[in-house]
């Protein structure tokens, strides 16, 4: 007799803590706050994922990475559903994620708009280079003290 084991959604979320964001690998898809719901529909695991930016090319890679990670845990029937509403906001980044971003050299988002300080030398003497950066979620800034350029995670 085949017994189907359906792990608890809390367990699945814990596993997803190990699935990194493909473009910023120091934070996980859970840290990013894009996994909105994990639930079983019969024998199919349904995961609701919200895009960070509507054209973010990482979105399809993230879906693939989640499926792969769950397959390794023995879950084959996964349905990843795109959920637009409520729209993703950087408020959903966990505090842990913000600390990890800063340690990685990316200034975390702030509602005040703009980084608190340079993620390298902590100087407050920073200037914006461009509103856009290496990925849709980032802008380019530069530190006037240590002269290093750095990414700022845009606040939306």
């Amino acid at each position: 007799m085949v017994t189907l084991i359906r792990p608890d959604p809390a367990q699945i979320k814990a596993w997803l803590q190990d699935v990194p964001d493909p473009e910023i690998p120091v934070i996980s898809v859970m840290d990013l706050g894009i996994v909105r719901d994990v639930s079983w529909r019969g024998d199919v695991l349904e995961i609701a994922v919200t895009p960070t930016y509507s054209g973010c090319p990482a979105t399809s890679v993230i879906a693939m990475d989640i499926e792969t990670a769950l397959k390794q845990r023995g879950i084959d029937a996964v349905n990843i559903r795109t959920q637009l509403s409520p729209a993703w906001t950087t408020d959903w980044l966990t505090d842990g994620a913000k600390a990890k971003l800063e340690a990685y050299g990316i200034a975390p988002p702030r509602p005040a708009g703009g980084p608190a300080h340079c993620p390298h030398c902590k100087s407050k003497d920073v200037e914006k280079v461009s509103q856009f950066g290496s990925t849709p979620c980032k802008a380019q800034w530069r530190c006037q003290a240590c002269l290093e350029p750095f990414d700022y995670f845009k606040c939306i």
């Binding site: 054209g55 637009l84 729209a87 461009s130 856009f132 380019q140 845009k154 939306i156």
Partner: protein, 250 residues
């Protein structure tokens, strides 16, 4: 003809055509930061297109997908504003077109957040966040270039003079718009005109630019009745792969 389908094509074709146009700058913008900014803006617009045309395809119910609508329709089936199919011109011209549209689009999306159609409302909320960011940048760039050197000011003035006759189409309404307004799906576009002017005119003044006095407006893009020849050339490039290798995927 289902007016909701037509309305969604207008939304999706606007973001698709502008998104493709600005992607043409990729790799050759004046400076690296602007190149990246234009590519990112294009990415947002193409992402928004997937939401609009994806929904349009569902509403149509003919088994087509967002990709089919983007890559397998001909120019006369496109419903974008004429403004957006204009060739890029120089960098200032591209940013002026972007600014005139962004200032309109923000009003459009804000209104659609309250749409009686929940799917439209959620697409508008998602897109609105990105559009706000686009407008910040296009407004600042227009002001910086207009209020820059005599050379940059002259180029921005000629961009404004060339594009102004294409702005009026944004506010025109036809039977599709009437149907959307009747169903509380979207207000009549004329309602966007006053807030658009309230955003655009002070910025153009700050950019030391003279607003053309002629109110003549080219039309025929959003109805599909009379696109310019530029759209056909653009589609020839954009659609070449699907036309040459139908059904190709990777």
């Amino acid at each position: 003809m289902d007016p909701l389908f037509e309305f969604l094509l207008r939304q999706g074709d606007n973001t698709l055509v502008l998104g493709h146009r600005i992607s043409e700058w990729c790799g050759k913008a004046p400076v690296l930061e602007e190149d990246i900014a234009l590519a990112n803006t294009a990415l947002d617009l193409i992402g928004q297109t997937q939401m609009w045309l994806g929904y349009a395809a569902e509403v149509e119910g003919a088994g087509r997908t967002a990709d089919d609508l983007a890559f397998l329709r001909d120019a006369w089936d496109f419903r974008n504003l004429l403004l957006l199919e204009r060739p890029n011109g120089d960098f200032g011209h591209t940013m002026m077109r972007q600014f005139l549209f962004d200032a309109y689009q923000i009003q459009n999306l804000k209104a659609l957040e309250a749409s009686s159609d929940p799917r439209i409302a959620e697409i508008a909320v998602k897109s609105g966040k990105e559009a706000t960011y686009h407008l910040d940048r296009s407004r600042d760039t227009v002001i910086a270039l207009g209020d820059g050197t005599s050379e940059s000011n002259a180029r921005m003035q000629s961009a404004l003079d060339a594009l102004w006759p294409y702005a009026g189409e944004m506010f025109l309404a036809d039977e599709i718009d009437q149907a959307m307004a009747a169903d509380h799906i979207a207000p009549l576009p004329l309602e966007y005109r006053a807030p658009w002017e309230a955003a655009v005119l002070p910025a153009l003044a700050a950019a030391a630019l003279k607003v053309p006095q002629d109110d003549f407006a080219h039309q025929g893009g959003k109805t599909g009745r009379r696109h310019s020849e530029h759209l056909g050339h653009m589609l020839a490039t954009m659609q070449v792969l699907q036309r040459s290798y139908p059904g190709a995927t990777w």
